[in-house]
Assembly symmetry: C2
Homo-oligomer: 199 residues x 2
DNA sequence: GTCTATACCGGGATAGAC
DNA sequence: GTCTATCCCGGTATAGAC
């Protein structure tokens, strides 16, 4: 029992460190030696918990905050916040977690290579996010806040693009680039606010 | 003379291959062995032309198409095309050169790490591009096509973000994601067209 | 200008003791 | 569950011959 609890803590600690290291170095040039050392155990010790580097990557990706997506969904469906506000809120939250933003920015770009172990994962993740957005936008359309002939698929692509693109510039130059204000402006232009014009 | 010409061709060929390999693997996990082999010479042969991997990266970055930026500038200043059209043209051209897009997308994200050999280069490159855009937008403002109180710095950040973000999604999923049409729509909303409303 | 040979490091992963 | 020891690969870079 005590051993099991200890194992779980270890695992969690390894994942925490792996996130850090993958975020700074990307997956391929990250090393198990560094992760093991920072997690306070040996390399074979690490590989006892995650049998290979690929397994470790998978665990990091799987574990990681699709709780954020869930949170956003909840804000809209249960707390009745507008979709625009929920998106801006997500952006604002990301501005407080540069490490997580970096993890996904770096891994997503690295995974553009079809041979990357997370390639399929990212392709699917983006499809999923765009599909979620399209669903939300359809709802906006039904409620009269978007033109009936708006190209929702294209709009979803744009929203995701703005989100990612701002994150990259922000990561590279946090002193000069704010991502929240530009994203707010973009959303204000792309998604009309909560009062439905009705007619 | 013949030797010199041969040397230049070699160099060019090495750079061409290095671009390819850096684009797929990023800088850090790219290997000189692969580059040398594809360029048809040995590893020390390669290092005769570029004394280290870092030198090779520098050469790839320096050589690379800021001729594109120059081209865009020329379109606006000499061929009198609108800034909106010139940006869209650049996007359209990139859609025909996925490898070059991938090179910059992958390296830019990898260089977010302050310890990356190209970190400063990318930070400066983005500052330069935003400054160029702000200059152009000021001109648009003076010509009455942008509101006098528009936040040009923010708008420049947004344009760059959309550009990069679309490229990432497009690289990951070219079959489903078109980057030109969304960029056109975005620019149409962000930058009013050539006819200056005058009043 | 290009090669072979080599030095040397660091990578991921496994065997097997404790 | 964690370790030491070890394997074997591949990395960058250099020395020195041709």
């Amino acid at each position: 029992m005590a051993t099991y609890a200890k194992g779980r803590e270890r695992r969690a600690e390894i994942l925490r460190v792996a996130r850090e290291v993958f975020a700074t170095r990307g997956f391929r040039s990250a090393s198990l030696a560094v992760i093991a050392e920072r997690a306070g155990l040996s390399e074979p010790g690490l590989l006892h918990h995650f049998p290979s580097k690929d397994h470790l990557l998978t665990a990091v990706l799987e574990e990681r905050d699709d709780s954020e997506i869930e949170r956003t969904r909840r804000q809209v469906e249960e707390e009745h916040r507008s979709r625009a506000e929920a998106l801006i809120d997500l952006c604002r939250r990301n501005a407080t977690r540069p490490e997580m933003v970096q993890l996904f920015t770096v891994l997503a770009a690295e995974s553009v290579d079809a041979a990357h172990p997370a390639h399929e994962w990212f392709v699917e993740r983006y499809r999923m996010i765009r599909a979620l957005l399209v669903d939300g936008l359809e709802q906006e359309q039904r409620e009269g806040r978007l033109a009936p002939d708006a190209n929702l698929e294209q709009l979803a692509i744009e929203i995701v693009a703005m989100f990612d693109g701002l994150q990259l510039q922000w990561l590279l130059d946090r002193e000069r680039v704010d991502m929240v204000a530009p994203f707010e402006r973009f959303i204000a232009r792309a998604l009309p606010g909560p009062p439905p014009p009705r007619r």
